[in-house]
Amino acid sequence: MANSGSFQTRRSENFDKTYKALVKGHYRKNRRGREDFEKQLAGFVALLRSDPRLPPPFGGLEPWPKGTYREGWELRKLHFDPPELRGASGEGRLIYMIDTERSVVYLIWIYTHHEFPTRPPDKSLRQVVEEARQEAEEVERDPEGE
């Protein structure tokens, strides 16, 4: 099993499709941003070629969807900041699989958190934290909820 060194990188059809969707959605009218994004991603691919197992906060293992696990393969996620996208919704993710026996990294999906947002509650952070603190105190006083 290869730990690090030289990995071949390949891209799936789904990667191409989602890459194009990301470009259309975020860099359609922003040439400079698009060029920076291409350079950034090319840099990450070079990094994955030398060592695809990036530690947190840059990356980590992703659980296999039900029924898809294969012996000798790893599913991983890389976190990155695409150029000129801001806030939590602009956080980028690159999903890839590693064939550990053949030392091949397959890029299979690229997206931003914007595709799966969860709207924060309509309360201030202070309110939410205060409510959490009060509830935690109640649970501590009465763990069984009686």
């Binding site: 891209r11 890459y19 359609r28 070079a46 996620k77 397959y106 799966f116 509650p121 934290v129 935690a136």
Partner: protein, 152 residues
């Protein structure tokens, strides 16, 4: 007059905050689904992630944020806490990523898209295209061009 970092320092608040944040990140990464009640704790973590990553609004907001950031960093430098600050930034990043990742995983659409990506890749391994070291940027540019052509 020249400022220099203190040679020895007590564990700073910044370092302690970084350590706590790191511990919380590990907890979120490993135990999000089993996190004990109350649910408001999870709600608070989600609010924390979104709020702390929210960019400042407008020119005035950005200007204020830049000034506040500059002053804070000057204080950190004066106290010789650059290393603790770096640890804090990394821990904050790890925690935010862990929370956003947990939110995504809870979304059925995410699970569906991930399944599709994995199954599609396995069923078509031989058809995948090599990204060579010499031509990765060229291939990505070509994909971008195709995407923009599709819009026309």
């Amino acid at each position: 007059m020249r400022f220099s970092a203190p040679e020895s320092a007590e564990p700073s608040e910044l370092r302690e905050a970084a350590q706590k944040m790191e511990q919380l990140a590990v907890m979120v990464e490993n135990m999000w689904d089993e996190m004990p009640p109350p649910p408001a704790v999870r709600e608070a973590l989600v609010a924390l992630a979104y709020t702390s990553m929210q960019p400042p609004k407008g020119i005035v907001g950005r200007y204020r944020a830049a000034i506040r950031g500059g002053i804070s960093y000057a204080r950190i430098k004066l106290r010789g806490e650059q290393e603790a600050f770096f640890d804090f930034v990394v821990a904050h990043r790890r925690l935010s990523n862990a929370i956003l990742t947990a939110i995504e995983r809870e979304n059925p659409a995410y699970q569906e898209a991930l399944s599709k990506a994995v199954e599609g890749a396995f069923s078509d391994l031989e058809q995948s295209k090599v990204l060579t070291a010499e031509d990765t940027l060229g291939q990505l540019r070509q994909l971008s061009d195709e995407a923009l052509r599709e819009l026309r």
